[in-house]
Symmetry: C2
Subunit: 210 residues, 2 copies
């Protein structure tokens, strides 16, 4: 158990978490790797392998307790504790992230938006204040946050990321279509919406070839 976890397993974990939440909401108490596999379109074998990266949460002859497994995976993902997010860039994307209630519902709480536009600074989006980026350091001292949602124009994304790294930030959820260069101890997840559309376009075009 524990030890090294492959990127492939990591990327499946949120799917497990989501399906287990759905099962819980449906009132399902127990599920076998077979049934969960049918639901998630994975093999039973893969599910048992994945789960066993983290320890034996199942019982032979019974399967997995839905709530128990959901809680375990939540802890593994780190969503059992609240994360505080600062959004940089109060444009369309920053605004949409700030206004969404699905992130807070999953433990990701937006504490502030930062921008440089004097028209925006001082306003609020939802109940999140829009602050001047120059006040970031001061704000952070009072309201520490652990995640940066980077929603700034592509041409300034690297400079802004460098600046925030300089101020100690180490986790970036990046919406700019660029491969940021960050310190080795930083964590980066890219969204890259355009790439999804391009993959969709590719698959539409090559659909019949399959």
């Amino acid at each position: 158990m524990a030890g090294y976890v492959s990127e492939a397993v990591i990327r499946r974990l949120p799917g497990y978490y989501r399906h287990l939440k759905e099962l819980e909401a449906e009132g399902v108490k127990q599920i076998s790797s077979q049934e969960l596999g049918e639901r998630m379109k994975l093999t039973a074998s893969q599910i048992r392998q994945d789960i066993n990266c983290f320890g034996g949460f199942g019982r032979q002859g019974y399967g997995y307790g839905v709530t128990e497994l959901r809680e375990h995976i939540g802890k593994i993902l780190g969503v059992d504790t609240v994360h505080r997010v600062a959004i940089i860039g109060a444009g369309n994307i920053g605004r949409a992230v700030a206004l969404s209630d699905s992130f807070p519902a999953n433990g990701f709480q937006t504490v502030a938006l930062f921008d440089t536009d004097p028209q925006k600074v001082g306003t609020s989006i939802g109940n999140v204040p829009v602050l001047d980026i120059t006040s970031f350091e001061h704000f952070k001292a009072e309201h520490p946050m652990d995640i940066i949602a980077l929603a700034v124009p592509t041409n300034v994304a690297q400079a802004v990321a460098d600046q925030l790294c300089g101020l100690g930030m180490r986790a970036f959820w990046n919406f700019a279509p660029i491969d940021l260069k960050l310190p080795g101890d930083a964590t980066l997840v890219n969204v890259h919406l355009e790439e999804g559309l391009e993959v969709l376009s590719f698959k539409m075009k090559h659909r019949e070839d399959a």
Copy 2:
């Protein structure tokens, strides 16, 4: 060349496309697999393998013509032609997608937003009209579109997708945190923003273990 292309290769294609556009903008005319690999953090070997899924675009002793390769990959992705997108759901996400100019800049043109809210129907977001979902079929007859951006609440996402499939739509860019069930000939790309945050949370928590 051609033939079967693995999912892994498909997902790297937009990255090639983006980096080649950047190189073009920098005025670089020619690049070797070695250099491109350093830039994209892939091995030279992998780059040659990937590109050769689609035919020999390089020249021995020289490398690849940047513009030529960018154009080829653009064609392969299908972004050499304009795609017309209808956004379903004029909430935060639908609005952000409609207002972004990075999608039109990449050949994905938003033709309309659809919603059920009478407060929203009849308005415009950017220069995109917000129409009643009941007028979808009529609108589509006049203004055919090939991609649906699905940005509706999770609890109605499947029903809306079913309805749109019934009206002949076959390509879905889905923002709802749900695994849609679609006909076998439909194409689906999920965005699932929450999952990205959860992966980020996981990696932050397990950072030191690496």
